[in-house]
Symmetry: C2
Subunit: 119 residues, 2 copies
């Protein structure tokens, strides 16, 4: 296996749908998240804002099933191809990149956040 | 236009082929690189290792012509869809993500670095 380089303990990760090739989201893994992703096949990340490990889908149930992992030429960025349950974005869109920079909505809404995130 | 958020002066950027949807590379823009990309339609980045602005293709001639820019839900990551001249990676592959984490080569080689990078 090619060993990724964690800069300041973190590895940037691009998440892409393995069938449609839509880019779904961008996040970071620390060593623990990377190891858990490899061992379980479910994407785990490190939340910089919350300062802790984050199993994607632990609240929403929208897990990411990892089909393939690729690493870039410098070994400091990861591309993972996943099967995404329902949607990746907390706003209800399948992809976090659902808007152009001009503000046009180009993504597909796949769930209602109010139905999923209940306190 | 939706204003991106530059954390510590930098914005992570995912670069995707606008036709094949192949993820080509990952880089960072500072404010100057972002503005130049918007005004010229040619991708510019900020090289963290060299500490300076970097017009992609300035040495190789392999420019990236920006077709669309998308921003994520948090406005702190950019996805740009480009027409890539020849190849994006300095190793000669079209994409920097030409290997799986297991080390299998899955990308296409599109040029010989020795022919392109001459001192």
């Amino acid at each position: 296996m090619i060993e990724p380089e964690f800069k300041d303990g973190l590895l940037p990760v691009i998440v892409q749908d393995y069938e449609t090739l839509e880019v779904l989201m961008f996040a970071y893994m620390n060593r623990e998240a990377f190891d858990l992703t490899c061992s379980t096949g479910i994407a785990h990340y490190f939340s910089r804002s919350r300062g802790k490990l984050w199993k994607k889908g632990e609240t929403s149930g929208h897990y990411q099933h990892v089909k393939e992992m690729r690493i870039d030429c410098d070994r400091d960025c990861l591309l993972i191809l996943v099967e995404q349950d329902t949607g990746a974005c907390h706003t209800g869109y399948r992809s976090c990149f659902y808007r152009t920079i001009e503000g046009d909505v180009v993504g597909e809404k796949t769930f209602e956040p109010a139905d999923v995130y209940k306190n």
